[in-house]
Symmetry: none
Subunit: 249 residues, 2 copies
DNA sequence: ATCTTGTTCTGGTAAGACCAGTACGATGAC
DNA sequence: GTCATCGTACTGGTCTTACCAGAACAAGAT
């Protein structure tokens, strides 16, 4: 039953490699239905359970959608597929957040530069609306972190780069959680309120003035200061009198 | 065969839900071996193929490691498990090579900053070796582009960020081809040789001196100049006499 | 032309079997 | 008693066969 070509790898690996190749070389495009399971069985010389394992694996990654009694179709992958990963991974290893955060910074710093070149008036308006909302929701962790995130998302979208947007969205899923927690610190540091408002404003100004260097530096500083707040929170500092109340983090 | 509790969901979902729960509530911790497949079969009242589908799915997410003839153990997950996802996700917009390239720049510029902080002596050595190889292979497109890429990869690895490394590698897969084509231009521009050598050298120096700002600026300029060469190549320019010979790109 | 009815194809699942190594306890030699 | 050897039970990896239920589609009946 090893007639059809390359063995050496396990059956599962073989099926996966086959599908991966088709997906990479464009033979299989989003929306297209790939061959039936039994057909794959015939072509690759493996059993159906193995084929199903591979398809499920791809399904788990959001690459493919298995429609009961219809067939398996290639999906346009989106970040929501990573929800399971982030949920489980985070439960096992909380410090993953810092690592992913670094990737997010990478994406946004590049995005803000591109945004300086490519942002339209509509983008400016969207950014400004987000900016206003940040000021309005400064005292609420939930709506506040949402507003904050909208602003950052708007930057990435203004960069007009599908890839950057996709990557950012992927990170967003995970970071939404930590982002909200971070915002809870706002209650502990009065100075953080102006930090949140002013910093974003400065980034916005740099974008409007189409100054990539200043935009990036400002954004980078913004992240660094946020980190610094978090550090101080961990060691129990605060610039309000009731700082001790939430010390046990 | 539906004795053990909650049905309603598909068998696969049930197994996944069961395992997810164990993983989230801490019953299953990294390093621990979870029950044998056949045991899961008994406990959940599903067939073994289904159990295996679920385990493979978790394996695909990097949550679990399936060791042949040993058992399935919980892994400490890191973002590298998502390589397949990102590689395939990026492939579906691969018509936008320039766009992916921008994302790569984002990753590397962040990485080079982190590398300035975190690079070890061993990293310096690796970078230097790559640097030397770039000089040695300057006239060959294949080995030359490989050396070039090794240098850039070394930067990312020196950043010691699994997520950045994973993203970079995903893009590398897609960019390998265009990267090589780009290198063919070296035959057309004598000045590009010194560009390749000197630029990388300058980036290396900045890393060794642990100067993030200079490292990033230098790297950014490096990419920009590469782009400029490509632009000039497209319009048929060149600084060698036989520039016209390879005009049809 | 439309409705009905199959047949056929799809994925979803179960059950049973075999292989090839591993782990570990029992057995043997020393 | 200690240590090496050997079985055996158990593990994951795979294949095979089989059945189900719903979708698709084409052919026939109305």
């Amino acid at each position: 039953m090893e007639s059809s070509g390359a063995d050496s790898a396990s059956g599962f690996e073989r099926v996966l490699a086959y599908l991966r190749e088709r997906l990479l070389d464009g033979t299989l495009k989003p929306g297209e239905r790939l061959m039936a399971e039994r057909e794959l069985v015939r072509q690759l010389g493996v059993s159906r359970p193995i084929v199903r394992e591979a398809l499920r694996a791809l399904h788990m990654l959001g690459i493919v959608e298995i429609r009961d009694r219809i067939g398996t179709v290639v999906k346009r992958p989106d970040a929501s597929a990573l929800k399971d990963f982030f949920t489980l991974a985070l439960a096992q290893q909380a410090d993953l957040i810092d690592d992913v955060m670094e990737a997010r910074i990478a994406i946004e710093c590049q995005a803000v530069r591109l945004a300086c070149e490519r942002a339209t008036i509509a983008d400016f308006e969207k950014l400004q609306r987000a900016l206003i909302r940040i000021g309005e929701t400064i005292d609420d962790a939930d709506t506040g972190s949402a507003a904050d995130f909208d602003f950052h998302r708007a930057i990435v979208l203004a960069a007009r780069s599908p890839t950057l947007a996709m990557l950012h969205e992927s990170m967003a899923t995970l970071l939404a959680i930590s982002h909200r927690n971070r915002r809870l610190l706002v209650q502990r540091f009065d100075s953080m309120k102006s930090y949140l408002v002013d910093d974003h404003k400065r980034v916005f100004d740099a974008i409007v003035k189409r100054d990539p260097d200043r935009a990036e530096v400002t954004l980078r500083r913004h992240f660094a200061i946020g980190d610094e707040y978090r550090r101080r929170a961990v060691i129990g500092e605060g610039d309000r009198a009731d700082a001790r109340t939430a010390q046990s983090e």
